[in-house]
Amino acid sequence: MAMVNDRGENARRPPRIAIVGGGPGGLFTAWHIERLAAAPVAITILEASSRLGGKVVSPRFAAAPVRYEAGAAELYDYSPVGDDPLRQLVQSLGLPTVPLTGASVCLAGRRIANLDDAQAELGSDCRRALVEFDAWARGAMSPGEFYASGSDLAVASDATPLAATLAGLQEPAVRRYLETMIHSDLATEPAATTTGYGLQNYLMNDPAYMRLYRIAGGNEQLVSAIAERLAAVVRLDATVTEITPAADGRLAVAWHTGGRPLCEEFEIVILALPIPRLAAIAFADATLAEAIGRHIAHHNHPAHYLRITLLLDRPVAGVPGEDDYLMLDAFGGACLYVESSRDPLGRHGVLGWLLGGNAAAEWANAPEEELVAAALDSLPEPLAPCRGQVLEARVHRWTGGVSGVPGGWHPLPADRRHRPSAAHSNVLVVGDYLYDSTLNGVFDSAEYVAGWVAAELIAAQSPSSGSL
Amino acid sequence: MTPRASARQASIDVLRAVAIALMVVVHFVENLSGWYADATIVFAGVHQVWWLPTGFAAPTFTFLTGVSYRLWVGVLERRGLGQEAIAKGTVRRGLFLVGLGFAFNVLIWLPEDVFNWDILTLIGFGLLVLEFARRMPDGVVLFAAVLVVAVAPTLREVAGYSEYWTEGYYDYDFTVSDVALGWLVTGYFPVFPWLAFPLVGYAAAPALLRQTNQPPPVEQAGSPPAPTLGVGYLAAAAILAAAILILIWPRLPTWVTGHTAEAWAMFPATTAYVLGTIGGISLVLAALHRALDGDVPRCRELVAWATPLSRHALSIYILHHAVHVWPLWAWGLATTGDPSALWQVAMPPWASLSLAVLFLAAVAMFCRWADTASLPTAESLMRWICE
């Protein structure tokens, strides 16, 4: 059944599309649809919060007009391996980018930044083991496979639990080193995810596979730039509560704004929500509700992040090797971002901790003071002076904010991923959890859905189409 | 050393001044004493005034016409003058000289001598040909000169050259065919082979005078200028060819000799004569160029006297004829009723030579004064008409 099935007086009106969720998924979807559609479309974005952007947020401190990353800290640059449409979009929007590099892993106060450090701190056997592991990892997943992971073209990756693979390493120090290196990116525990997913998070540190970058001035500029260029109607503080079938195949979307209930009908509804928010919507149609329920069940593997960001009264000194981030063995493996590292004119320093997995969940309920104290305690020795320089602290909790990839889990084909109910072809889903829980992943998801929608719209508007 | 936009080449001025001196001496002595019989003093007669350097002035003048034209065009191009303007100037000068040549023949000689195709008409026609030659590669110009020299004997044979010459003088009928043949082959200075002189002069100028079109290489600035060695070899080869031709002349076929008994002759201009004079003039000019031209002026006094003479060569040509021929006609007419009664028998050679020297001295001083006093001359008349 076509998405758009309209004849008669509504045939000449632009198709109405509702995008539920104003995060990166919703914005990317609207962006793609507006560019791919061959005819005008009327898009409405319904966002429950008071801002667009979702997990991409770059707020300012109150003590000083300094921005920091509260959500997605970096973007992934796949251009060494293949097309990177997200990077191309960033460049086309004219947003300046800054590369991010970081090679240091701090274990028990010892810094290991390269193989020479590994030999000096851990011994020749550990150095050899690291080299062997790296060779094995690169042999297990080529840059092309890495690039295709998460897509329909992905080769079935190793579904063995990551913890089992790491346990096979002879040297405990090497295990610890690798766990520390990848833990914050996993957002889950090695026991709860696959070796394939773990390999991806290890190989993302290899410049031959991927590089990291951020947008100068805050990653939120990406979503802002997109939002500025959309023709879509944006309704903030609009919490969608129910989706009900309406006449002629349309869907009635009910939401409330400031307590006031509203409802509109749309030809297509795209749900660009994280799993918890998706689960909060009621679907009047039993078939649709069941399909959404299965969709949620299949993809609900919540993983957690917690961000602690500190504003310092002076630029950060003593960063070994001028790294933009370090891996600490504190919190089970956390990433310490030196957010002010590439701002030579800044008068303040910004340090950001990214906790993942169980640590994020455990510390999620801790008081802020306790979190900040623990973070400062975890600073390696060269950064110890920063402990007395804190002006302001901010904590952002992303509990269940991403999806982990559990062992034995297999992704669905792309069509089924994005359209949970074959009987409801005009209900589509977009999300980073459908891919790799990254901004690139949600970009791919949005592009997939938008292409589908655009093709259906073209078909519906064709004079020979049976749907008209 | 900066490129010379308007400076004259001292070597050309000196060579032209020498040619003027030769011309004046030869014409004075020949025309006034050519057949003066005074066995006690000197042998008279054209071939008996053995010390008279006949046959070198005309080749020098016509050769230098080509060389000077190359320099002149280069100067105009560096000044930014367009090709059309240069062409106009060339054609006008050529036609002026042709007309002046006709007028000269009528006024100095006789009206019936108007189409005797003297040197002025040849130089004028030569300029018109050079206007086309400057569009050709130098190699083609040289090729044309070689052809002109090579076919001249055959043309003389076909035209019956000897039938137009009586006792050493050119005599023709006032018919279109005779006039045209005289211009091409049988006159005093016909196109074939005399056109070769200005053509070779034009083509060889860049090699003879390195500063013709471009400044010298930096590393050579300040050192004496040097013509290319190739020119020297070619000139020597031409002289050698002339010598060989002279040696084997009796054994050569008539299409080469044109039934001319002597290998070295000016009338008609034999192949050996043309090759020998071109080669010799080239070598002399090259030597003078090395000796006199360059950053540091050399032989300033000599150049100071030679330059005004060279600048007024045309005026001197006309004037020296008037100075020695008109009195000859007048005295002959007055004494015998026949203007040509005293032709070549007016005085002994020493007297005519003395007159020639006196004339040269007077005209040299006159020319220096004429420049400063801006007196009208044939050259100023030409510039006034042609520019």
Binding site: L115, D134, G318, E322, E381, P382, P385 | G160, A180
Partner: protein, 271 residues
Amino acid sequence: MNANDRDQSDLKPGPAAAGGIPAGLPGTASLRRLPLSATAAIDLLAVAVEAAADTGGPPESVANIIREWTTTQSLDPAVGVSPAPIVVPLYGCLVAWSAGRAAVVGPGERLGQLEEAVADFATHEATLRDAEQRATALLDTIEADAGAAFEIDHASGDRRIELSARYREAVAVGRRLAIVAPAVHAAPVHPPTLASQLGERLRERARLVERHELAVGRADLAERVAEACGQRAADSSFARRQTGLEWAIVVLLVVQTALILVDLLARRGSS
């Protein structure tokens, strides 16, 4: 000479470089002249010192001396004015580099790797800088040659030797840039070593990639212009030969016409 051509003997103690070891450095400091190519060399100062516990790097006094020493103009007249030095703090070490001078400070067991990395980088940078300068010199002539690249006249034909030399120079510069390209565009090594990290930092800070691209662009432009000039000169030469042939035919026809004319006139005159 490229990095691979230098043998290990270059890194062994050699003759002292001019200027001497700056005062204030520990006794472990050594200074020597490291040849980079047949014409280029660099003064390499090595100081073995343990990292300070508080800063994680060399003592500030040593670091200041090193910075000042590399800021001082190189004594090598071939180097000319030295660009601003690049200072790279790197995991307990400190490396400072400017054209003609370089200093490595760190634990003794790390100095060898750092010197090797600096020598490699300096070699490639010197090669690139030489090619850059030559490419820039070629750029100055492009405007003068542009006319000859469009059309060429007789006077320009005499410039064939000069234009030929320019083309060969452009190709030579392009060749040097092609030789140094793999080193300039070398992909980061993973897992990294201290030497590879230093090399990447130095290449990034010296903007070798951007400079290489700019130099390649200039060399390409100069080569295209010189090639066009050569093509025009060849075309002109060919056209002149063709023109010469045509004029020679014209001359022959004129002479033939003169021959026929003389024959006609002679017959007419005699009839």
